[in-house]
């Protein structure tokens, strides 16, 4: 009993998660159920990790074809939304989830709008009529709570230049600086799926944490969900790497008013207090342009689109020429106003 399906109690159709109402809804009869009130079948079932790794659709009986990482999908024969329970239980139970707020139609619309705003994309791409696939995926993330104790020693200078008589004096004041900082970061997200491009996922942030919900399987109905490929310990170095620049920026913000600062000793002691398994909503857009495939990702809550679009050489050249021309005229005007003659 590892395949979970939500059958409508009224008409028996498969129910899916509706991003607008945030309810489990039946596309046939329109019944809507509040997810908070549905008993989660995951909690009732025993840990069934050693069961056979073949799943059968409870609607049509066909074998469900999935990647080993997939925990929710649709049956490729009858189209029912199915959730693979044993890939979401035990260690694999997500703690929290941010449900989709953008429906497929809205996502297509938002993507088309984004394409139109591309200043350097070819005009053929801007019409955005070659969308090959639009997939709503719950991407696994680890949310780290990282406590940092930072101790910095450094050397700073203040330089004053003044003239007196025939001499120019450069007066340099030297300071020894020390900072002890406590810096705690909450819910730093690191994507845990092997399939997802890390760079793309980093750019999708921020995910609105006010929409974080306690995980319930009905949220996944109708979408694809992945389980994590790396556990929290394996990804801790990436998390530390990510906050390193935050820490550096924070340190720099506490040392101000100097001409130059150099750090002689920087000690950062990072302590991972907690790591929560979370699923975040992402629309993956497969796009085909001039026989090349492009992949874009859209934040399923905010609609932010990331991914390298094709660049039009002509537009790049035109922009360069325009900016070049305008700045050249500006420089000319400046020189003319300073008395430099126009030609």
């Amino acid at each position: 009993m590892s395949v979970i399906e939500y059958k409508c109690p009224n008409c028996g159709s498969g129910m899916v998660f509706d991003s607008e109402t945030e309810m489990l809804s039946c596309p046939s009869c329109g019944r809507k159920d509040n997810i908070e009130n549905i008993p989660d079948p995951l909690k009732q079932q025993a840990n069934a990790e050693d069961e056979a790794q073949e799943y059968h659709c409870t609607s049509c009986g066909a074998v469900i074809l999935t990647d080993p990482e997939t925990s929710a999908t649709t049956c490729s024969f009858c189209g029912s939304a199915v959730v693979l329970g044993d890939r979401l239980s035990g260690k694999l139970t997500p703690a929290v989830v941010i449900p989709f707020a953008i429906s497929k139609e809205e996502a297509v619309k938002a993507f088309k709008k984004w394409c139109r705003n591309g200043l350097l994309t070819p005009s053929g791409f801007m019409s955005a009529d070659r969308i090959k696939g639009m997939t709503g995926i719950y991407v696994p993330f680890w949310l780290y709570e990282l406590h940092n104790n930072v101790e910095v020693h450094g050397h700073a200078t203040k330089v004053r230049i003044y003239t007196s008589g025939d001499y120019e004096y450069t007066e340099t004041q030297h300071f020894e600086i020390y900072r002890k900082i406590r810096l705690n970061y909450l819910k730093v997200p690191i994507d845990a799926s092997e399939k997802m491009n890390d760079e793309l996922m980093d750019k999708l942030e921020p995910f609105p944490y006010e929409h974080l919900k306690e995980f319930k399987t009905p949220y996944l109905a109708g979408y694809i969900a992945e389980k994590y490929s790396y556990d929290d310990k394996a990804l801790l170095p990436r998390a530390k790497d990510k906050i390193r620049e935050f820490i550096d920026a924070y340190i720099a913000s506490t040392v101000s008013g100097y001409t130059s600062v150099s750090y002689t000793d920087k000690q950062i002691d990072t302590n991972a207090k907690q790591a929560d398994y979370a699923l975040f909503p992402v629309w993956m857009v497969q796009y085909d342009f001039r026989k090349k495939d492009y992949t874009f990702a859209m934040n399923g809550q905010t609609g932010k689109v990331v991914g390298k679009p094709p660049l039009s050489k002509a537009k790049v050249a035109a922009w360069f020429a325009g900016v070049f021309g305008v700045s050249f005229i500006c420089l000319k005007l400046i020189s003319w106003m300073m008395g430099g003659g126009f030609l």
């Binding site: 450069t170 030297h174 909450l186 750019k203 620049e245 920026a249 360069f320």
Partner: protein
């Protein structure tokens, strides 16, 4: 019928163009019938002299100024500044009227002295500092005996410097066309590079996004003053080769800017 009319209008246009092109040349000729090169020391071949005259006329016309070169063996051993002033009073050069706008380069081969003087418009636009700059530019070539090259530089630099408002530094890098082109190209490249790098979306989170403000903060903070070091540097005074000199007034009562030196 139409074709013929087109041919006529084309011919008329060409005629207009020819008149427009030739017109100014003729007036320029009429204005500048006085010689501009007085090569009493005999440094230049007739061809050189002719070409330099054409050049001086062309550039001088654009600045309403006679650009004059005067070389002399100076057997009387006069001072180079007095020579220049007397030359102006005597020859009465000037772009549109006698004793008018003129810049004079005088070479005295007796003392190997050089003097530059600017009169009226040239006095205003070529002050002592600018004349010093011109003199410093051409002195090495004169010392090497590259007279023709030095004179060409002199004519071009006078033309160039007179294009800038009085009082500003004509060698300001902002006035340099290559700097302007290069600067514009750099700005263009930077803007396009930023646009391409942003086309794929960019990171919009910072440390603030995930920082727990209630528990984070600076616990200890120390800025200890250690010492002060001071270095001093002598301010370079404008030392031009030879002596400065500056301007003066001719015995005919014409005041001028000036720069003198030796080569």
């Amino acid at each position: 019928m139409n074709k013929r009319r087109a041919t006529w209008s084309l011919l008329a246009m060409m005629l207009c163009l020819t008149v427009m092109l030739i017109g100014p040349l003729q007036t320029a000729k009429a204005a500048g019938d006085q010689p501009l090169i007085y090569d009493e020391a005999g440094l230049l071949s007739p061809e050189d002299k002719e070409e330099l005259t054409i050049m001086a006329k062309e550039y001088g016309a654009k600045r309403d100024t006679d650009i004059i070169i005067y070389t002399s063996n100076n057997p009387e051993g006069q001072d180079v500044q007095i020579m220049t002033e007397d030359f102006y009073d005597e020859k009465a050069p000037g772009y549109d009227h006698p004793l008018g706008n003129a810049v004079i380069l005088t070479l005295d081969f007796n003392h190997r002295d050089i003097y530059l003087a600017g009169f009226y418009k040239a006095k205003e636009y070529l002050d002592d500092q600018r004349l010093d700059k011109i003199r410093n530019k051409i002195t090495p070539d004169l010392s090497d005996g590259e007279y023709r090259l030095a004179f060409e530089k002199y004519i071009k630099t006078v033309y160039k410097y007179m294009g800038y408002k009085p009082g500003v530094n004509p060698d300001n890098i902002l006035f340099n066309i290559w700097f302007q082109l290069g600067g514009a190209a750099v700005i263009g490249i930077i803007v396009v590079a930023i646009m391409t790098s942003r086309s794929g979306g960019r990171v919009t989170v910072s440390g603030r996004t995930y920082e727990d403000k209630s528990t984070s903060g600076v616990l200890e903070h120390q800025d200890a003053y250690i010492r002060t070091t001071t270095t001093r540097r002598k301010i370079e005074k404008n030392t031009s080769s030879g002596s400065g000199g500056g301007g003066g007034t001719t015995s005919g009562g014409h005041s001028h800017s000036g720069s003198r030196g030796s080569f």
